[in-house]
């Protein structure tokens, strides 16, 4: 009598204990880097992380060209002194805050120009046709963008992003790059043929 309850309890516990040990052992065999996976040794970065994807980089790294400091300065000045910016910013102090490299996106990457943050102090109001650009992501044309006009109405605009090409020509303006600005409308002027818009 006394052994029955013990067997009734002990055997399941033993099975459970062995099962847990087996699972733990299998998990340990899977998660300890030194033992690797069932498919073979895992190549890891010394600091951790497998780096042995059997699919290698088909194209190889894509180097990206940079503007030189003097090009940044020149293109920043070109953006700030462009006719369009001088007209809409009349009465404000206009200054280039920074100029970032602007390249295309299909290798081999080429410099397209600069994206310049131009500041207005005090902030300006705008009701004007401004140059815009629509980027052609297929990059089958040169340059890979279409320029057109957008009628912009807005106020409290402290800065804009101005795109200039490598010759310093203004090719497009993003009027709403200042989070404090109030842009009440942006309407395309006319019916230009623009590249297909891609959701990203």
């Amino acid at each position: 009598m006394s052994s029955q309850p013990r067997r009734g309890v002990t055997v399941p516990r033993l099975v459970l204990t062995l099962g847990v040990a087996l699972v733990a052992g299998l998990m340990a065999a899977q998660v300890v880097p030194a033992t690797g996976s069932s498919s073979g040794a895992v190549t890891t970065d010394p600091s951790g992380g497998a780096t042995d994807d059997p699919l290698s980089d088909e194209s190889g790294p894509i180097p990206s060209p940079d503007l030189s400091p003097s090009q940044m300065a020149d293109l920043g000045a070109a953006a700030a002194t462009s006719d369009v910016i001088q007209v809409i910013g009349k009465g404000s102090v206009i200054a280039p805050k920074d100029a970032l490299t602007w390249t295309d996106d299909v290798p081999p990457l080429r410099l397209l120009g600069a994206a310049v943050t131009v500041t207005f102090n005090p902030a300006i109001s705008v009701d004007a046709d401004l140059p815009s650009l629509a980027y052609d992501e297929s990059e089958k044309t040169s340059p890979p963008y279409v320029t057109y006009k957008t009628h912009v109405v807005g106020s409290n605009i402290g800065s804009m992003t101005v795109f200039v090409d490598m010759d310093g020509n203004l090719v497009g303006i993003i009027p709403d790059s200042d989070p404090n600005s109030k842009i009440s409308s942006q309407e395309t002027v006319g019916t230009p043929t623009l590249p297909t818009h891609h959701e990203d």
């Binding site: 498919s39 780096t51 994807d53 790294p61 795109f163 790059s177």
Partner: protein
């Protein structure tokens, strides 16, 4: 009674997707590789997601910059960020690539690298983010499917994700379409998590390195800015 709003929301989402464009153009980078660091242990994660299921530096979409860990799965993360961050609208499908070396623990069959495709979730496509109009936050989480989560002894059950902003990504909010702002998207989601779960469940750095630093620059209509740090968000 409760079905009508759901149908309306679904119809609205489909309309927004229809108004948005088709498949996106892949991007090119110079540092395609892996997420590494002590937290990764024996697992592997590619440090960018891909436009299609082809590993190539000229076929990437955006950098991996988020890890949801402890008890995460794709479904729990999506449900949480929809409820607590308004990231509820679907986007276009991209592809993450990973290697889960503890398939017994996670239940996955991905012990020698596999793909996962996910459209992710975004905020309203013509919404306002940090004062920027016509902007949405979009993230895409990945892990082997099934079971939609990975496992290792450091992170527990985890998924990783890329994130970015879209601007003027619909004809409903006309203007120059622009994409990127990866660091800013990462911070928005980090802030959503802090607001909901507190600072004890969200860190904007980790022992895991994305190896995907991108200095501020423009490529085409994309603004790149990514620190390479991986934000970690705990799912209890």
């Amino acid at each position: 009674m409760s079905r009508r709003p759901l149908i309306l929301i679904t119809a609205a989402s489909l309309l927004l997707l229809a108004l948005a464009g088709g498949s996106a153009q892949a991007h090119s980078v110079g540092n395609l590789g892996y997420v590494t660091g002590s937290g990764m242990n024996e697992d592997g994660v590619r440090n960018y997601d891909f436009d299609t299921q082809r590993v190539a530096s000229d076929n990437v979409d955006w950098p991996v910059n988020l890890i949801f860990f402890d008890n995460a799965s794709i479904n729990t993360v999506k449900a949480d960020l929809c409820t607590h961050g308004d990231l509820c609208t679907g986007g276009s499908t991209k592809n993450g690539r990973m290697d889960d070396e503890a398939p017994i623990a996670s239940g996955s069959g991905c012990s020698n690298w596999c793909w996962d495709a996910d459209s992710g979730s975004k905020t309203y496509v013509c919404g306002t983010v940090w004062g920027y109009d016509a902007t949405d936050v979009h993230y895409r989480p990945y892990s082997p499917n099934p079971p939609d989560r990975m496992y290792n002894t450091y992170w527990g059950f985890y998924v990783f994700a890329s994130s970015h902003w879209d601007k003027h990504d619909s004809s409903l909010c006309p203007g120059t379409s622009q994409y990127g702002w990866n660091e800013q998207a990462e911070k928005v989601i980090w802030q959503d998590w802090v607001d909901w779960r507190g600072t004890g469940a969200a860190w904007n750095n980790s022992p895991t390195d994305g190896n995907n630093y991108q200095p501020k620059h423009w490529a085409g209509d994309n603004y790149w800015d990514n620190s390479g740090e991986v934000t970690r968000l705990r799912v209890p």
